[in-house]
């Protein structure tokens, strides 16, 4: 099936594809850069969690030359889609540079679409006219492109970071996109096991909006209501995989509503009423009760383990009854999170500490100071 056929098929049938998979990620909190070969090696150990129908990576700090520009990664079905999209881009953005994404053709990655990247900022006059902040402007632009320009899909839109993903095993996807050529302070990786029909490039993980990149293992049984809740705030869930609600929920709660990351995690993996009732501190109890009352539709139910990368850090989170595995480890300034300990031990043979975070408790690593 060509990319275009798959894309059309999914759009028409509105068919949600659940995700089951393997995750790995690490961050150097001192901001040291590591080559992408390391994350590929980690993913190779948990290859069997995927079935080769999707793989991907996200790296942060990979475009030091264009630190202040939004780096758009776009896949096109054909040249027509590309020119239509570029018209839209030109109208809204000042594009500093654009080029085909460097790739390496390998037999394991078949029928790649056109893959381009653009480093750009919103046009000042457009921003002023819409009275929007640059981030909101970009979110709207990305949603517009993804919902109205056929055969086009923006799969990365953050600054100084990039998502790379395709149909294939993670190691192959990494080789195809030349991941070892990039150096990042934060890497996350994903190998997919979609249980229904063949994957679609856009459906692979990480899922991205601005600098949020989410890799997800599990299935969101509350998807229907999470999606409808997000739509009230202008997010369009088009991707037919449930992971996108995770990314949008982080964007809504943390970026738009300004809630601290740890509070956002208490909304997504909310503590049980039983535990809230037993809370001794009345202020904490009121906070937890109110969070559940106000944000019940953002509670993410069903098994999940996610690793989320963002401009300043990385967070790993489990669902409230830990139905999916998640292991964390420290070594000096490095924080590792993965579906399996062996994926961590492959790239960090002797960690200072290895542990399994309890259900609903986030593991957060952040860059120290300015980087």
């Amino acid at each position: 099936m060509t990319f275009g056929d798959q894309y059309k098929k999914w759009k028409v049938d509105d068919f949600k594809v659940p995700s089951a998979c393997g995750l790995s990620g690490f961050i150097s909190q001192d901001g040291h850069l590591t080559g992408g070969d390391v994350i590929i090696e980690s993913m190779s150990v948990i290859r069997d969690r995927g079935n080769g129908l999707g793989g991907g990576f996200a790296g942060y700090g990979i475009f030091p030359k264009y630190k202040e520009h939004y780096a758009l990664h776009i896949m096109f079905e054909d040249a027509n889609g590309k020119s239509r999209c570029e018209e839209l881009l030109e109208g809204s953005l000042e594009v500093e540079a654009s080029e085909e994404m460097p790739t390496k053709p390998i037999p394991q990655i078949q029928d790649p679409p056109l893959l381009w990247r653009y480093f750009a900022v919103p046009r000042r006059e457009k921003l002023a006219a819409e009275g929007a902040g640059a981030d909101d402007f970009m979110v709207r632009l990305v949603m517009t492109i993804n919902t109205t320009v056929p055969g086009t899909f923006v799969f990365s839109s953050g600054k100084n970071m990039g998502v790379f993903k395709a149909v294939g095993f993670a190691e192959d996807v990494g080789e195809f996109f030349r991941i070892p050529d990039y150096s990042a302070h934060t890497w996350i990786g994903h190998g997919r096991f979609p249980t229904n029909t063949p994957g679609w490039w856009g459906g692979a993980h990480p899922f991205n909006i601005l600098d949020w990149a989410v890799v997800h293992n599990g299935e969101i049984s509350s998807y229907g209501i999470n999606k409808r809740y997000l739509e009230m705030f202008g997010y369009h869930c088009t991707l037919l995989t449930d992971t996108e609600v995770m990314a949008y929920l982080f964007d809504l709660l943390v970026r738009k509503q300004g809630l601290p990351l740890s509070i956002a995690c208490k909304i997504l993996a909310a503590p049980f009423w039983k535990d809230i009732d037993e809370e001794d501190d009345p202020a904490e109890k009121e906070l937890l009760e109110s969070l559940r009352m106000a944000y019940g539709s953002a509670l993410v139910n069903g098994p999940f383990a996610v690793i989320v990368g963002y401009s300043r850090g990385m967070v790993g989170l489990n669902d409230r009854i830990k139905l999916r595995p998640l292991v964390a480890a420290y070594k000096d300034d490095l924080l590792y999170v993965s579906s399996e300990e062996s994926a961590i031990r492959q790239i960090c043979p002797r960690p200072d500490r290895v542990w399994a975070p309890p259900a609903g408790q986030p593991v957060i690593g952040e860059l120290k100071g300015d980087t």
Partner: protein
């Protein structure tokens, strides 16, 4: 070093395999070949993440694993002794029938699910859903011992067998998580110290030890400490309490006929 198997073997025929980077299918098939060739002690070096080691094996052999084995270690196993000189992952001893698995480190989630016999000894912490639906029948009694702490749903749905949780470790985390023994309708859990009552499933109650319990525990703990390399001198059997279900038909009144 693993002990020799307790059955009197004429001699130990040992071999070491370099498992580094070997795909699990190849590794496990190699192990089977070696067993067929009469090896009784197989050391796997450089293991990291290979799944299904020891699965379905019925021979009384010793397999020593140096490194972190992948998921489902010793699943459906019926006889061998596996010793891990590192941490283990999820699914250890899944539906195990007999034999022994020793982990000198911590282990992950869903340990001993549906276990029907044999022993699993973990020196460190264990994860969530340990010992779900363990069951025993006549002399076949499965036993799990964990030296450290455990997560939620410990002993969920237990129908038989014995789980011992020692809670050793310097930190002040609670020894066990919520919903301990939820759905339990058989078997016994022993913990070192009484868990807070709000952590217990509603089917479970705390009892003090009887002489039979102490005798059972004495034997199990000394074997555990030796295998898992734990210093047992600080552990006094009388510090343990017993948790058992109220009823073997906890849901009799849930249905209307």
């Amino acid at each position: 070093m693993a002990k020799e198997s307790t059955k009197r073997e004429p001699e130990v025929k040992a071999v070491t395999v370099d498992a580094k980077g070997v795909y699990y299918r190849e590794l496990n098939s190699r192990v089977r070949e070696l067993i067929d060739d009469g090896y009784t002690e197989i050391v796997l070096d450089g293991v990291n993440g290979q799944r299904y080691i020891g699965d379905g094996l019925t021979d009384k052999v010793n397999i020593i694993i140096n490194g972190v084995p992948g998921n489902d270690l010793g699943a459906f196993m019926d006889g061998p002794t596996l010793t891990v000189n590192d941490n283990a992952q999820d699914g250890v001893g899944n539906t195990m029938n007999s034999g022994k698995i020793v982990v000198r480190g911590h282990a992950g989630d869903v340990i001993g699910y549906g276990m029907r016999g044999g022993r699993i000894f973990v020196s460190g912490d264990v994860g969530y859903r340990v010992g779900i639906h363990m069951k025993s029948y006549r002399e076949q009694v499965p036993i799990i011992v964990a030296g450290g702490k455990a997560g939620d749903f410990f002993g969920e749905y237990m129908a038989g067998g014995v789980i011992v949780l020692l809670g050793l470790g310097e930190d002040d985390r609670p020894m066990v998580g919520h919903y301990m023994g939820t759905g339990m309708h058989g078997g016994a859990i022993y913990t070192r110290g009484e868990p807070a009552h709000n952590l217990l499933g509603k089917e479970v109650s705390v009892f003090s030890l009887e002489d039979d319990d102490k005798k059972l525990l004495g034997g199990i703990l000394s074997e555990f400490c030796e295998d898992a390399l734990i210093d047992g001198s600080g552990i006094d059997v009388s510090d343990l309490v017993k948790l058992r279900p109220f009823s073997h038909r906890p849901y009799g009144s849930k249905y209307v006929y």
